[in-house]
Symmetry: D2
Subunit: 80 residues, 4 copies
């Protein structure tokens, strides 16, 4: 797996991950979904075969990046 | 989908679900996993192609059925 | 669940689905992933809480819509 | 992750995996489900929080272990 760093821009925190194949990518996406459920904070997720883009923002804070987005990003980082 | 009723026995709450095929069964299992994450209470899950068995107990209450098991069962029932 | 019709544009077949919540949306996405594995043809998938966008194209046919995209769309329609 | 070796007994191939937590375990289970779809050969899967048991047999060969079970086991091993 290779990944960009988290980028903060336009009130969003975004990171792009590239896996070996779709199976590995979708296993990761499922883990992110489970973390999001626990934190009750759900990022946007895009999957393009082996490439996954995670984008997190706090809609209830006027589409800005808050501690809830950083907490989710930290939990995602611990998966890797 | 057809399903048994929830059965309480030996300190466990159990229900068996039968779906059309593996795809439908595994979609359901994923939803149960997401609910369990939200409630922080994880049932045992067995999958045999189109058949899913959910078994819930409260380990921290000496393997008895508590309100947490009933809450999970209720959330699962609302999926159907 | 509500959904648009499949739209064909720019060599892609796209449909947008809106579910009750994230749990229902992600259960559907997992089913789509399983269908894609069986057909060995993987669409782009975007998830934004309860909204799922599926976009399918045939990269090996110069980014056009082929029978493989229609077969995947048909299998997805049968989930609903 | 720790795991037993594959055990062959009573016409079944079985391996038990233990992960850090439920999130890691369920991510693995989802990958196994995707592999099974590709091979059109679905093992029984049991999940108990961080513990996953995979049991594979060929029902159409009188519940014996065949090349299809070994192929699935090999694909699962490559996930690790």
């Amino acid at each position: 797996m290779t990944a960009s760093r988290w980028q903060q821009d336009n009130g969003e925190l975004q990171r792009i991950f590239e896996f070996v194949d779709f199976v590995e990518a979708f296993g990761f996406v499922t883990q992110v979904a489970l973390l999001a459920q626990r934190q009750n904070h759900h990022p946007d997720i895009s999957i393009s075969w082996n490439k996954v883009t995670i984008t997190s923002t706090s809609h209830d804070a006027n589409h800005t990046v808050t501690g809830r987005d950083h907490d989710l990003a930290d939990a995602i980082d611990q998966l890797l």
